[in-house]
Amino acid sequence: MTVSRRAFLSGSLGAAALLGLGACSSPNSNAGTGQTSAGQSSTGSGSTKSVGKPTGTLTFAFWGGSAGETAGFTYAKKQFEAANPGTTINLKVVPYDGFFSGIDRGIQAGNAPDIFRVDYTTIGKYSKNGVLLDVSPYFTNAEIDQFLPALWDAIKYQSVPYGVPHQTDTTCVVYSKKAFETAGITSVPTSLDSAWTWDEFSAVAQKLQSTLPHNKFPFAYDWTQAGAFRWLSWLYQAGGTLLTPDLSKCALPSSAGTKALEYTQSFFAKKWVPANSTIKTSTYSDNFFLSQTVPMTFVGDFLVPELADPANGYKGGDWGATFMPRDVAAASDLGGNAIVALKNTKNPDLAAAFLKFLVSEDIMKYFCEQAVELPTLKTLVNEQLNYAFRPDVVKVCAQQATTISDTIVKECTIAGFADINTALEDQLELAFHGQSAPATLDAIATKVNQAVGS
């Protein structure tokens, strides 16, 4: 199955930011061809450190979020070793829970893996503490231009790139076609421009509710636990921001903040979401959909394989996908991960070579197809990818990803974001159980200001 993203990316909101400057031939496209890609620059301006043929052994730690992700990394390792004789990349698959604690202990003890995976909202902690390898000597300007600008910015700290943006993902809305038909919802947005407004989304929720029994609910949202920051999508949609433009202070309380919070609080008051679809729960939004407690849910595209799995996936009939609602603006969350190397790795040239290899065109394409995730190279954004599951859903997510603005990227990748996310977890949980919007926003502001040192 193939899907072209060119048509729907062109002209959509944020496309300019994503598409960036003019296209160049990809210097990273020689992966899997038998030629070494290590540390070599083929085109473009700027200086690239010449590292020759790398040799040696490094360890790459990652969490296998799905079988597709593990397959993608295993494929990359094999291809890299074949293309670079004398190199060995030891893969270390670690559970996601406790992954970064393990990395931190390793860094403190001096035995951390040379290369590891890190999500965009966590990378700031490592770059701020100066433990990551500055990859700027290894990338020419032309090579940098190959990446979607917003995602290249996501791996930078004080203008220095620490790692490579490997893939991205974002939230979209999936729904049961049968439930929509029963509720008389005949039209579902097929483009970003026609995405539901908040009012239209509310009408959809009400229609669904009217046809559901008391123990079923219209939808669930993916703000559970560490996903609390996904609430910010509502804030951005309302036209607000979390931080001031210079990122020095919290921009809350604000009218947009109040609007977003009161709207999301109303989901609980109106019983549009299950009462336990909050932050501190062990039930995620995809669980509610799979158990058919809700006929519509907000999920990241990385969960598409789970939902589409013939054996354990969704059993409620045919399901489709559409866009996040929009208000003043369209917005979604910055998901996905970078790959970084340690500054004190024993073989920085080899580490940089492997990072470059991971984001080479063929390797990234294979990974994204297997893991059902979105690429970060412009050339792949414009190319047909053979997704293993539901390319129609990935198409929606890819288009939704264009609503991840520079502001969202900057705010979600600051060094103290973990503290901010904790504050959002605590305060949104309280807000969804009755704490007033002003009290919640004040408390968030206090904690955010502490986190950014204001």
């Binding site: 931190d104 336990n276 062990s282 407690t293 973990a418």
Partner: protein, 306 residues
């Protein structure tokens, strides 16, 4: 000693020296392990609690600032209250149920070995697995309990979105897990009670309840003391079941002191303030120590009286 026999005492120094050397050799491995894995971390926890220390970067000495912050932290005191409630409802209730089951299974009962095994089985399951099982059972929309209640016409409680019910679900899961341990210790205690004593009490005309109240229960004193100490320590340190079952929610209603310490210090997406987490750990240590000392003194007095 017969008069006239010359008594030549063993040389005191040689006797004690040799014994001490042998004892030291035997004790050395344990002392090394205790020192390395218990005392050193304990001292380090006290040291780290006086530092501002993130998961990366260098420590900064801040004296007792972490403790001042801790005592002003309203969430922390809420977690202390939650832990106290959890302890009060799990320790005595669990011990009473454990004693009851032990009494039942200590008698001649067909298949009692099987029953003992079934009741003990949850204890060998990890706390995380127990918590996950609990989250399935107490899922307020799709869990076993509410579906069962629905089948008999009762609307089940909001196990996950109501703080009180969430705490009850946590207590029930914990009791399910720990009653087997209480039963096991009490069974061992019961089998150490001489039947002659109970027989004598029966001949003296005491009823079954009187024999239990005035003979069995007092003689189970050491078992009760052991269980009380172990259960209180366990309850104060409960983490895995809570984390898997409720994540400390809704709000902070099931957040215990240890889950709070974990979240502050070790959660990958949390503040990762190791110094502050260590301060919480020191608090738990001191409270547990105080309770143990009080119980120890109480128990010794009672033993002497008995």
């Amino acid at each position: 000693m017969p008069r006239g026999t010359s008594y030549k005492p063993r040389r005191r120094g040689a006797y004690t020296h040799g014994q001490a050397a042998a004892a030291s050799l035997f004790l050395l491995p344990n002392l090394a392990l205790v020192g390395l894995f218990l005392l050193v971390p304990l001292v380090l926890a006290f040291v780290i609690s006086t530092q501002k220390l993130g998961s990366l970067g260098s420590p900064q000495y801040i004296g007792i600032d972490n403790f001042i912050t801790l005592f002003r932290d309203t969430i922390f005191w809420e977690t202390v209250w939650n832990t106290a409630v959890f302890t009060i409802f799990t320790v005595p209730v669990g011990m009473v149920i454990g004693l009851g089951v032990a009494l039942l299974l200590n008698s001649v009962l067909p298949g009692r070995t099987l029953y003992r095994s079934i009741i003990f089985l949850p204890l060998v399951i990890s706390g995380v697995a127990t918590g996950v099982l609990g989250s399935w059972m107490f899922d307020q929309y799709n869990g076993f309990f509410n579906k069962f209640l629905h089948a008999i016409g009762i609307t089940g409680p909001a196990w996950q979105s109501d703080g009180k019910w969430a705490m009850i679900s946590l207590i029930l899961v914990t009791l399910w897990q720990r009653v087997g341990f209480d039963m096991l210790i009490y069974l061992a205690g019961l089998q150490g009670i001489s039947p002659d004593l109970l027989e004598a009490a029966k001949i003296d005309g005491s009823s079954a309840w009187q024999r239990l109240r005035h003979v069995t229960v007092p003689l189970l004193g050491p078992s009760t003391f052991f269980l009380l100490i172990m259960n209180i320590i366990y309850s104060f340190q409960v983490f895995d079941t809570v984390w898997a079952l409720t994540r400390g929610g809704p709000d902070f209603s099931t957040t215990t002191v240890v889950t709070y310490a974990y979240r502050e210090a070790f959660d990958d997406h949390g503040p990762q303030q190791l110094g502050y987490g260590a301060a919480v750990g020191v608090f738990i240590y001191l409270i547990t120590l105080a309770i143990t000392v009080i119980q120890w003194r109480f128990s010794r007095t009672r033993d002497e009286a008995g």
